[in-house]
């Protein structure tokens, strides 16, 4: 459709650009993000890294909530399992990060598959409640198994990922860049997945899973697939968090974290993949900058959330579309 009309004057008048220009805003954003450590304080870089981690988890979660329509509350649990396992393997058993990370991610995938298989048979609210409990149960394990996780005393002494050649990840900037690159890759993969035929199947399940099932789609298997994918992404983000932040405490992984992920995804715009990413960025920065008013920020946040649900359920992306940007 694009090719043979390039010389058509009508098309020049309409907002038709050659395909490459569509990528310009993305490229600019990426360049800005890459250069961040050069012009921003390390505090900002730190917050940006955390925001990227949230964005990763939220994007993965969107596959589950936005594309398959399953409301779950255990992203925090998978994030935490990834974080703690990687920490334990590297600190207690002397593994290298590059060995511990894949194993941790694999483990999270396994756990999510085992839990997901029976759990996904539950409909809607029952599933949500079960995941809520699961998240809390995992939190209890983090809190109580002191010999394993350090419990309320925290797990310290986590080292950054081992250097790849001359590239060390000791510094805040390099740690940040590692997270940034992981995020870009993961996001690209998720995008591709969601736009693929499998993504279409997931979307069909979200709209009418009974119809999808009678059209020969093994809805249980696909639901499990999206559950495991979102868990793996969260688990990976967890390992990144452990080796970037280098200190783990159980309260980080309470259901509050899972709630935040849900809220971020909602606010950003469920089912758009980019929405939750933007949501993560905005939420993280706003919460950080409201540091001076620690109590108010969450309240204001909750009110904003409800306002969004009531007036613009499509979240940020809905707002953007309405205003007509792009």
């Amino acid at each position: 459709m694009a090719g043979h009309n390039k010389n058509n004057i009508y098309l020049k008048k309409s907002l038709f650009y050659p395909r490459a220009i569509r990528f310009l805003p993305i490229i600019i954003t990426i360049v800005i993000l890459i250069m961040l450590p050069l012009y921003a304080s390390s505090y900002i870089v730190f917050v940006a890294a955390i925001a990227l981690l949230y964005a990763m988890v939220a994007a993965g979660y969107d596959v589950l909530l936005g594309y398959t329509g399953q409301l779950s509350f255990c992203q925090g649990a998978f994030y935490g399992i990834g974080a703690y396992l990687s920490a334990i393997l590297t600190v207690n058993y002397g593994w290298s990060f590059w060995q511990a990370m894949p194993i941790s991610v694999l483990f999270v995938g396994l756990v999510s598959a085992i839990i997901g298989y029976p759990a996904l048979r539950l409909r809607g609210a029952y599933f949500a409640v079960t995941t809520f409990f699961l998240a809390h149960f995992v939190y209890l394990i983090f809190l109580n198994e002191v010999s394993l996780t350090g419990g309320p005393l925290g797990f310290r002494g986590i080292r950054p990922p081992e250097p790849i050649g001359p590239l060390s990840f000791e510094s805040m900037a390099n740690g940040y860049l590692l997270i940034l690159f992981s995020f870009i890759i993961i996001y690209a993969l998720l995008r591709k997945f969601v736009n693929s035929n499998v993504g279409l199947i997931l979307k069909s399940i979200e709209q009418d899973d009974i119809l999808a099932e009678s059209m020969g789609i093994n809805t249980a298997a696909y639901k499990l697939l999206s559950f495991v994918i979102s868990a793996i992404v969260a688990g990976y983000a967890g390992t990144m968090f452990a080796h970037f932040f280098r200190l783990l405490h159980p309260t980080t992984f309470s259901w509050f974290l899972s709630e935040m992920v849900v809220i971020i995804t909602l606010v950003g715009g469920v089912g758009t993949l980019i929405g939750p990413v933007l949501g993560a960025g905005i939420v993280t920065f706003i919460l950080e900058f409201l540091r001076f008013a620690p109590e108010i920020r969450y309240v204001g946040w909750a009110i904003a959330l409800i306002a969004i649900l009531m007036f613009e359920p499509k979240g940020l992306m809905g707002l953007i579309k309405r205003i007509g940007v792009r």
Partner: protein, 288 residues
Amino acid sequence: MIDTIVLTQLLNGFILGLIYGLMAIGLTMIWSVTDLPDFSQGGIYIISAYVAYWTITLLNVPYFLAIPIGALAGILLSVAFERIVYDRLRPSGVLSCLLAAIALFFLLENAANALWTPKAKIMSVPETEVSINLFGIVTSYHRIIIFIISVLLFIFVHLFIKYTKIGMAMRAVAEDREIAALMGIDTSKVYIATWALGGALTSVAAILISPLYAVWPGMGTLPLLKALVVVILGGFGSIIGALIGGLILGLIETFGAIYVSAAYQHGFAFILLLLTLSLRPKGLFGRR
């Protein structure tokens, strides 16, 4: 003697179970009539406890008066949420309402945190802290109060549902919303009544248990989750089920904490949930 210890714990578990049951009844009613598992009741739990706390502490109101005052706060909040938020979101589907309920819970919990700090407040009720020797078991008067009030409430709810016009309307809507509407039942009035009742039950549960534990912003999450388990265990929409399920959970939790693991006592609800969902998803008395 070991027996008295067991008996004491039996009583404690029973009382705890009554509290779970109260909250579960409210939840199961709301859920079966309005199709929404109302997570915001967790927030209502918190706020009503605080309202009672401040009434007692600042206004020197006796505990027994603080209960209905706190319940009133709970009722007003629940109904307000229904009218302002849920009613608007209903056409968008259950998921939107569920997310709103969670957001409201989030809101209330953090509002409590902001207003009254995370530090736990002790609701001291000297009138009921009196020790009583009951058939050889030493317990506090307060637990007897819980028992009496809970039983009274159960009877009240049961009679209400069975014999009043609104109660029967609630049952009709729970059975089949469309047909009830076609029969001329005003669903919005029924919803308001349901939420009022649910909010009241949750609040009373919160205020009854507060003197035994503490009042703090995070107090709502676990009771909410456990009440949800009780709803599922007892059977969707079943009031008797909520009561019995609550008792089961209360007892299992209390004895489990002693004989199995105190650290994971909150995990028993989870195990109970898993068992119910895999063995008897309809719950003990469920119809759906």
